[in-house]
Symmetry: C2
Subunit: 304 residues, 2 copies
DNA sequence: GTTGATGCATTGATAATTTCGATTATCATA
DNA sequence: TATGATAATCGAAATTATCAATGCATCAAC
């Protein structure tokens, strides 16, 4: 059998790749710069190939280095999964679980989820993290997260997902305009520029626009908000309209406003909520149970 | 970050699992018995769980131990792939490649393949191994083999495969009977018990019987052979018939016999040849090129 | 230019870990 | 009750990892 590199050195390599800086990487690993430096050299020697090109002041990962980093990443996450698995004694619902969630779901679900987990699986330590879909997917890939809760469809990039349920979109309008409308709402009746959406990059905008088949409508107000809460504030103050997921409405986002929720026209005006995990995971059973728990909290649960 | 177990200790665990004996496992790892013993204890301490139940004379892996072994296996094979990858400088067609093959393909293909590889990819060191489908799949899973060449369909058990081509079955009969038959052959014209097949467990028997839609026919002779070559000997000596893959016939297995090959009736009288590899591999490109090379040697190449 | 700051490599002493051989403990069995 | 087989334990020796300090090259500021 050939001599294998140590996991420690591989983790040094990953840290260096992440920080692109020996000192900061060393700090992140809680070792001195010289330790990390020699660890990397050690690796290069064992693997008999150059991983980084040195430039005395700076350095650059070689193509090989990048490739090795990718492979090392999966090895290290597997190893971490192994210790987590054993530390939790193989019990599926024990030990730490790092869950990422997008901002248009998190505030309306994680509170209830946290309570539910606390009640049903008190030994499961849920660590939560709120970020954009892109960032969450990166963190999942890097092993910084175990599972990610987000709106589908999304490019799974080789990961796998459980579909937990469906979250219908509602058209939310000011009381003063609601009288003139009847369900399902015909968008043509809305004043021009009266529809507020999240910033374009935000996945919810895309989902809502697609779901309601109204891309580039003249109805959309060019101002864009960055959170559902500010969206509500805008619509309320300017007597406009917006789309909100049922989930947010159920959790009282419209309380203390003069807004009412109406059913929009267009088929399938909804988003799907999915739980994404690495294909290489060993914790499918855990994620499955978590998925079941989350599904019970959704407007239209449809676990598969 | 939690403290990770060392790859070395994990490999000790795997060796112990394989040999079920401390001394022999230690020898296999080229370390002393005490080293291996304390390595295992170390693991148990780090993972905070009992991996083996000791019985003073003997021992038994716990359920957790078995599970950890499985996970450790994938980690170690990934690590080994990493060093192989780097040692071959990322060149796809360099370094060692361990190929397993079933006995009804190996003798008719590996010679030509070996020659082809030697010519086109001289730096690829092909290690060959001939065994049954079941054993090959186990060795693939254990990381003892990199790829396996066999007849499809087969339970992939989470592995992946390239389909390389199709190998038609021919009905091989003695000259003295050939005159009475015309293609495609109607089995009813064969004398009872005149058809020789490989032993029942052998995948080729199943493939041939299925392909020609003649399960449990009274035509089948209860005597079964263990290799295609002895099958040919039987049919030749006893003036019977048998099924042979085109591949074997192309390589001259009927030379110096009084047998002739005829096209059997029944649609799709053929087997598919596939190249199977672990889903977690990092060498898909290598396997792809190998697949292309092998496909050119098959009677009906259909790479996908 | 000179100076100071930055960033990685090197060095040599020290600490930690690994490994081995020898020994011990336990059990089965002859 | 010896004997042999097996795994755990122990202590010394070898190996390896780590750190603080230093070296060396580069760059920016003046």
């Amino acid at each position: 059998m050939t001599k294998l590199p140590s996991l420690k050195n591989l983790s040094y390599l990953l840290a260096l790749h992440q920080h692109q800086h020996f000192n900061r990487a060393a700090q992140a690993c809680h070792v001195s710069q010289s330790t990390l430096s020699s660890g990397i050299q050690n690796l290069e020697e064992q693997l008999a190939c150059q991983l980084i090109e040195r430039d005395h002041k700076s350095f650059l990962f070689t193509a090989m280095g990048e490739e090795i980093v990718e492979q090392a990443r999966t090895i290290l996450t597997s190893a971490e999964e192994l210790v987590n698995f054993s530390l939790s004694q193989g019990k599926q619902m024990e030990g730490p679980l790092r869950l990422g969630c997008i901002p248009t779901i998190a505030p309306f679900l994680l509170g209830a989820l946290s309570k539910l987990i606390q009640r049903d699986y008190p030994k499961l330590q849920l660590h939560l993290c709120e970020d954009t879909t892109t960032n969450l997917m990166n963190q999942l890939r890097n092993g910084e997260l175990d599972v990610v809760l987000l709106a589908l469809p999304v490019d799974l990039q080789g990961n796998q997902a459980y579909v937990l349920g469906r979250d219908p979109f509602k058209l939310v309008v000011h009381k003063s305009q609601a009288a003139a409308l009847k369900e399902p709402v015909n968008y043509g009746l809305l004043p021009d520029h009266s529809l507020f959406l999240l910033e374009r990059e935000h996945c919810l905008s895309g989902h809502a626009v697609n779901a309601c088949e109204m891309a580039d409508s003249v109805k959309i107000n060019p101002f864009t908000a960055t959170s559902l809460h500010s969206l509500v504030q805008m619509a309320d103050a300017r007597q406009g309209a917006t789309f909100l997921p049922q989930l947010a409405i159920d959790r009282g986002i419209l309380n203390d406003t003069d807004l009412v929720a109406l059913r929009p026209s267009g088929r399938e005006a909804s988003r799907e909520i999915g739980l994404v995990y690495r294909a290489t995971t060993t914790r499918r059973q855990t994620f499955r149970k978590l998925a079941e728990a989350i599904a019970t909290l959704l407007p239209v649960p449809t676990l598969r």
